[in-house]
């Protein structure tokens, strides 16, 4: 059974029970009140006719001593009456049917005996009491017809049932529509969930209301959005891994092919000394490339696995320790190095920081620049280190991908320079470990500017504000 059916049945059951219960209570209340009113009216009628009888007995006291067959009495009574003498013998009646008297009560205690009788011809309230007037005494019974009340009650019940059926006839389609209306959005959520399960992650639900179902739709859309994001991230990660594996295989294959080729040549043929030297040089070059590749890969993996402790160190001190590694490299390539480091302290792991700066300087040197300018400056709670060169630069279209592993802008040049396409990936990873922001700017012609923005530790900020 579906939710739609359950809601529909609940509507019908609750409505029917409520309507019928209200009907029973109302009709019964009205009926009891009407009968009670009729009873009071019958008692008043009895009292009135009792006075009529007493008036007759007052003016004609001898009337009860008439013939055995019954008495002649002027018919002033407002309702049918019956008179019984003290021997419980009916001496006068103008009722159509004589009632069965439950009992005769001759005590004068102000209590009237009443009983209700239902016969084929109608329903009646009988009231009886002992009436005295002077020397005369009789039992007076009055009859009040309450058939109209019974008929009214039955008519009311039948009318109520007709109203009930009419309301249901109108209400059934309404309940059906309402149920469809309420369950429709739930159906739409289910449909959207199924489509997402089929792989259509961009599926969303249109939110039309602000009720619980509207909230469910909003939550569902948020969930779908997160799932889409996660799926996208996972797909990207899987693609990156595939690329990484493919690049890695390719980067291995290229030097190994050269190495195997030259080694085979050395093995197969007796070559002159110059050619042997050239072949060995190739093998050495490609071996160094493989070594650099394996070292950087090892660094990348190690960084993912290892926890680093960042120590607050003055930037000037960091660069002071770095320069002995940077300056020979620049001197060797004939590159002028300029350094402008403002005072400031950052939280950094020295070895990682050194790897990051060396990679950036190495890239700048490989870009065949003439000048490298290293600056360090403080700005609003941050410390920014920039390395700017005037080399070949990076085409703007490539900027987004240069932090990918094995990505090389100029593959042939890079390989000649023992590059493996992992340097910027390492820089990006180290920046991420330092919670620093990496920015690379280049127009592809006049050099490259790489900036790493560190957040200043609390002490560093105080120092700045002081």
């Amino acid at each position: 059974m579906r939710l739609f059916h359950k809601i529909f049945l609940c509507f019908v059951i609750i409505f029917s029970i409520a309507f019928q219960a209200a009907g029973i209570l109302l009709i019964n209340f009205a009926y009891e009140n009407a009968v009670e009113q009729e009873k009071k009216y019958a008692l008043q009628q009895f009292q009135y006719n009792k006075y009529i009888l007493q008036s007759i007995l007052y003016s004609e006291p001898e009337i009860l001593q008439e013939e055995e067959s019954g008495i002649e009495i002027r018919d002033d009574f407002t309702v049918p009456v019956a008179l019984y003498d003290t021997d419980r013998r009916c001496i006068y009646t103008n009722m159509a049917v004589q009632p069965d008297i439950p009992y005769f009560d001759d005590s004068v205690d102000g209590r009237l005996i009443f009983w209700i009788v239902r016969r084929d011809e109608g329903c009646f309230i009988y009231v009886q009491d002992y009436v005295r007037q002077g020397e005369s005494a009789v039992y007076l019974v009055t009859e009040s017809d309450i058939s109209s009340v019974v008929e009214t009650h039955r008519g009311m019940a039948a009318y109520f049932q007709r109203i009930y059926l009419i309301i249901l006839c109108i209400g059934f389609p309404l309940i059906f529509l309402l149920t469809s209306f309420f369950t429709g959005p739930i159906k739409r959520v289910g449909g959207a969930a199924r489509r997402i399960a089929e792989g259509r992650y961009s599926e969303r639900i249109r939110v039309g209301t602000k009720d619980e179902i509207g909230e469910l739709a909003v939550d569902f859309n948020q969930m779908a959005e997160k799932i889409e994001e996660k799926i996208s991230e996972l797909s990207e990660a899987a693609r990156a891994k595939e690329d990484f594996t493919a690049n890695f295989a390719h980067e291995l294959k290229t030097p190994l092919t050269s190495v195997i080729g030259y080694a085979d040549m050395l093995y197969q043929k007796a070559l002159p000394r110059e050619q042997v030297k050239e072949a060995a040089g190739y093998i050495l070059h490609e071996g160094m490339r493989l070594e650099a590749l394996s070292l950087k890969l090892m660094d990348l993996f190690v960084m993912d696995k290892q926890d680093f402790i960042l120590e607050e160190t003055p930037v000037a001190e960091l660069f002071g320790n770095l320069m002995p590694g940077i300056e020979p490299l620049c001197r060797k390539q004939g590159v002028r190095l300029k350094r402008e480091i403002a005072a400031g302290t950052i939280a950094a792991d020295f070895d990682l920081f050194k790897t990051m700066i060396l990679n950036l300087v190495d890239n700048a040197v490989k870009a065949e620049c003439e000048d490298i300018r290293i600056t360090g400056e403080r700005t609003e709670g941050k410390y920014r280190i920039c390395i700017q060169d005037n080399g070949k630069g990076i085409p703007p279209a490539e900027l987004g991908r240069i932090t990918e592993a094995f990505y090389m802008v100029d593959k042939s040049r890079s390989r000649k320079q023992h590059g493996a396409g992992l340097g910027m990936a390492l820089v990006a990873k180290i920046a991420e470990l330092h919670k620093a922001e990496l920015q690379i700017k280049s127009d592809g012609r006049t050099g490259t500017r790489v900036c790493i923005t560190f957040c200043l530790p609390e002490g560093g900020r105080d120092e700045q504000s002081a």
């Binding site: 019908v12 009926y31 007052y58 205690d109």
Partner: protein
């Protein structure tokens, strides 16, 4: 038919079954309750709607008041005003048996007959109570010999619906006594405590010359038991068919008015449409036509009404 449609069909069937079942259930329950209600029997105590009459208090010295019985049968003007004001505002009448301190039916009839005699509408020897039990009253009532007979007497109290459960003072009850005779019919409202007549409607078949007079209004007020002097003021209406007597230092008024009822037969023309002088003279305030079949007068009777009243302004302000 797929599974969803099967369930939908089942739901509709179940709903229809439930609806019909609930209708049958309602009929069954109502029938049961009706049967129980219409088999009711027992005895009902008829609580009198009035309290018993409180005995008069002893005087300050603690001596019993020698005239207490007389005082018990008298109401102050304020009490009478209260009663009349209440009667004017009440809607229902509840009949009840006399309670302690209220007069019996025999006493009420006797008071009524005495009033008729004192007001001059009846000779004392023609009263029904003189002949009650003699076996003659019922026979003589229908004959045109001046004999009068009580046709009906009932004790009732006017009640407001909202105060129907509050017992009233016994002097709020009145006996309504109807007399009929060959020459006069009377409907009297007799106070159930004092036995005095507060309202009267007299129908005269003979002695048609009787009109209101100072003396009858004065006498009516005295017989009603008004314990106050009268102002020397009588307001007579424009057609000389009614008058009102003011009671001193009170809003209470005694009022009398008379009019004739004419029964006539004739050719069916409208009474007021007639152009002759006789027809015009019949369209007066003192004549009320109940049946008219032409110009020939068949029967005429005179109605005289006495009432104790309160001005409308007093009634509404109270």
């Amino acid at each position: 038919m797929n599974r969803v449609h099967k369930w939908t069909l089942l739901c509709f069937l179940f709903a229809a079954f439930f609806v019909l079942g609930s209708m049958a259930g309602m009929d069954f329950i109502l029938q049961k309750r009706e049967n129980r209600l219409l088999q009711e029997s027992g005895s009902e105590e008829t609580e009198p709607p009035v309290a018993v009459w409180r005995e008069p208090q002893a005087d300050e010295a603690g001596r019993p008041d020698v005239s207490s019985e007389e005082k018990a049968r008298q109401l102050t003007v304020e009490q009478m005003e209260e009663v009349i004001n209440y009667r004017d505002s009440a809607t229902d009448e509840v009949l009840h048996d006399p309670v302690s301190g209220q007069i019996s039916m025999e006493e009420a009839i006797a008071c009524g007959e005495q009033w008729l005699v004192e007001m001059g509408f009846l000779e004392e020897e023609h009263t029904g109570s003189k002949n009650a039990g003699s076996g003659q009253a019922g026979i003589t009532a229908g004959e045109n010999n001046g004999q009068i007979l009580c046709r009906r007497a009932s004790l009732g109290i006017k009640k407001e619906r909202r105060n129907s459960q509050v017992p009233m003072e016994p002097y709020y009850s009145f006996w309504t006594v109807r007399f009929s005779g060959g020459t006069v019919n009377a409907v009297l409202s007799v106070n159930a405590v004092t036995g005095s007549v507060w309202d009267a409607e007299i129908t005269l078949y003979n002695d048609m010359t009787r009109k209101f007079s100072w003396e009858t209004l004065d006498l009516f007020t005295k017989l009603a038991g008004v314990q106050a002097e009268f102002e020397n003021y009588v307001d007579i209406n424009k057609t000389n068919t009614g008058a009102t007597l003011a009671v001193k230092d009170s809003y209470l008024r005694a009022q009398v008015e008379y009019y004739d009822i004419v029964v006539a037969v004739g050719n069916g023309e409208d009474w007021n449409a007639g152009s002759d002088e006789e027809d015009q003279s019949m369209a007066r305030d003192d004549i009320r036509v109940t049946e008219y079949y032409g110009g020939r007068e068949m029967h005429r009777r005179r109605i005289i009404e006495y009432h104790l009243i309160l001005p409308v302004a007093f009634s509404s302000s109270s």
